[in-house]
Symmetry: C3
Subunit: 356 residues, 3 copies
């Protein structure tokens, strides 16, 4: 991984009055560009082949300029161009996925957030070490499928968008469905309702919900729309579908907005706080947006089944604010919050704290 030192040197040569943010034209780029523009930062869209036409329909989110690459794995080749333009990379989920984690780790361009989080987030065992170390309740792990004696969710490593995940209630059901060529984890299936909680951690000195260093915000939440699991019940129950050879899948196609019971906010903040504090201990701390993927049970407990340590697409509904962000300031998206953080760090002379 590129060192903090190298990044600091690059930043020290930047024209800080002409910072630009850059990201790949996908995932949550509309709000990243829109938010940057609202804060007066320049915007660079990185795209393959040619600029996507859909930005023409969203003038407020159209980047100031494009850098076209032949394939995302070519992003390292545009390093110099990005640095010349005083660019700060905003990595979203697709950014890392498209260019590859290794390429991303080495990219010698200042990047929003702490790149060391990648290693903790992309490995399900390290992720569990982090979250459980923080005192977070996760669905139990079932190391040996023979021990399945209640509903479990079987997940493949690196499965994109939940394709191939399946629920099993017994070892027999596990055997019927498992792909023996894939590495998997088996998690207790938590009965409840899914909430994806969108936090923002700033390591800067500021007003707000204070942690040991910096502040924590919770800007919005969503529920992912999963195809075909969300509507498959119209066709049959799990057993009826099984008989017909039809299998539910969990690919995310979009997001529905929602709010949580207000009485759960203390718990929601406490979960975010624990995760951040543990991240500071483990690897110097996450920075910026992160998402806890949770299930709220009927005991009003919150189980966390995963963490995303960057902006998630579930924030896309809230491009002009949310029922939570509106209580911070009007018209605040996660994309705009990122731009504000960059400006604030610049003004405080602390860009090093939020870039890596």
């Amino acid at each position: 991984m590129i060192s903090k030192q190298q990044i600091s040197e690059i930043i020290s040569k930047y024209d800080q009055e002409n910072l630009a943010i850059a990201t790949v034209c996908s995932h949550s780029s509309l709000q990243i560009f829109d938010g940057a523009r609202k804060e007066g930062l320049k915007t660079i869209g990185i795209c393959v082949g040619q600029p996507p036409r859909f930005y023409d329909a969203f003038p407020k989110a159209k980047p100031d300029e494009y850098i076209v690459v032949e394939s995302y794995s070519d992003i390292p080749k545009i390093t110099q161009e990005l640095v010349e333009k005083n660019a700060i990379i905003i990595p979203h989920g697709s950014f890392v996925e498209y260019m590859g984690a290794k390429n991303f780790a080495e990219l010698p361009v200042p990047t929003f957030g702490n790149r060391e989080v990648l290693e903790w987030e992309s490995d399900r065992e390290k992720e569990r070490e982090w979250l459980e170390g923080a005192g977070i309740h996760m669905p139990g792990n079932v190391p040996d499928p023979k021990d399945i004696n209640s509903p479990v969710m079987v997940k493949y490593y690196g499965a994109k968008g939940g394709r191939g995940f399946f629920i099993a209630k017994t070892y027999e059901e596990f055997l019927e469905n498992i792909d023996p060529n894939e590495k998997f984890t088996i998690q207790e299936f938590i009965l409840g309702t899914r909430y994806y909680l969108h936090y923002f951690y700033s390591p800067l000195e500021n007003e707000g919900y204070k942690l040991s260093e910096g502040t924590l915000e919770m800007l919005s939440m969503d529920r992912r729309v999963e195809s075909n699991a969300d509507e498959i019940f119209r066709l049959g129950s799990p057993r009826e579908l099984e008989e017909a050879g039809i299998h539910p899948t969990y690919v995310v196609t979009g997001n529905v907005p929602l709010v949580a019971r207000e009485s759960l906010l203390p718990l929601i903040f406490s979960l975010g706080e624990k995760v951040v504090e543990e991240s500071i201990k483990l690897f110097g701390g996450m920075v910026g947006p992160f998402c806890l993927e949770t299930v709220f049970t009927d005991k009003l407990e919150i189980k966390v089944f995963e963490i995303s340590a960057r902006i998630v697409a579930g924030t896309n509904f809230y491009i002009s604010g949310s029922p939570y962000a509106d209580l911070v300031e009007s018209d605040l998206s996660t994309g705009k919050r990122i731009a504000k953080e960059i400006k604030l760090a610049k003004d405080m002379g602390q860009l090093d704290k939020i870039l890596s």
Copy 2:
């Protein structure tokens, strides 16, 4: 219950140019405080032990000051402090639940709304008398479980958040699930989709949708997210779950926003109108926000299964307006609407009409 007369005397001594609103820090307090501040009213958060930290993350909704109690049942002890601060209590669902209905009824502090509604709302039989007296269609009551011959919902008295409710299609299924130690009602299960309709009734003379006295608004609507009923179908059908000894529950964890077919608005307003008019006859009228908990059937009929005679948490999504409230004025939450009502009544010299 404290008399209208006593409350009037307290109000008459208030410094009406320095009114404050006070509520318990939970449920819908973010929008109540945010709405009051937007209207220039002071805000007092009542909390147990210490001020909740989560307000630090939502500066616009942070109350101007806190009154800390040891337990919610101690709220009567802060009566004098509240009165000295010219406080008007905004009771939300948790407020009444936390301090107890009896304590609430006697609290000698001016309270937004008509406290007499409590008695009609908290007893399922009186609630039915009220709603059916108003000509509202409710799910049929099944007094004797032996008469169950179509799907029914069995509800326990005072069950918090729907825990323990269950669906039965036969007397046998009823017997299998019933807790013999609990008082219950059995309601016909209405097939349809749930809508929670957020109304506001003002007894003041004003422009708008006029009733025999005052005006009616419909500010927003939501669908409650119920754990674990909303997602349990992923695991199995009701019968498959029954076999596995797993039971659906109906605890509310949050709310999803939605809109209704516009052609249903005349019916929606007529339902609200009937309920208010009947409340005027029965006990001098509800005041302020109320919610009809309904099912819209595929015949486009609306069945009302419950009423909440105060602000409901389903309004929390709409802190900066809703598809309906935006047509009244911009940035209008139910919390802000309450603050506006207080200011209007004060300006008209009619605080007596909206406080009790």
Copy 3:
């Protein structure tokens, strides 16, 4: 159908500085009136019997004046009054349904959009010819019910709001449910999640996502709430319900807002583009809002099962903007977009292009 020529003559006599928009008081009239007022156009509400009282609760959407008819089939009788008021009809789904397609086709009042689309949209076979001709993927047609060998959706012609639609997995299930007196189509049942995509096509020369002529926008999307299909799983699986003689129905009662994966936007725009381009070839082009009713599969394909060639009620949530429209301009509803189009066409001297 009334000729373009006749409409042009009427428009040429209009006082174009005093245009009014007129529509039937239902469906999406709140946003149509609100949007027109925001753009400074006069508004006329057409209603049966008497003005609906619910507008009194929504002052921003209350039309400037009403024209009362005895029944919607009497709308042709108010032609002269509408023309004298320089009215442009905004046809929504209920408008056409209430007054009848034939009456609508002949109405000698300038109407927003191209009335020729009706013939292509109201006949399921011509609709398929249009969409498949455009290269759109639709659910497969099963001409002979004996050929049912995977899940299908059986739809009746002209069924209002989905009443009577049913799913069958076999020919036997088809026979059990079919109403022999109704004309039906049988469509492959696509497993996935439903998205209703709200586009706007302007034939005018302008900035934006350019087509062969004019520009395309995608302003919002929703998921329809269907009674009782959306919640019937609480009672039983399809087979369990079948045994109990209970049938799911698909009547739309409202709409839930959502967003789609950003990586699907290029495909979403390409679908809209193909449909518009084909409409230009077939009948001179749709104009204004249209909706593709789709299913997103877990392969991230989009299947289109229907098109609505006018404003749909799913846009009603977005009366003050949407996560997409906000990137065009703030406070932009589809209703307001229609008003802007009329004003722009007037300013360009091209009302002929958008009225028929």
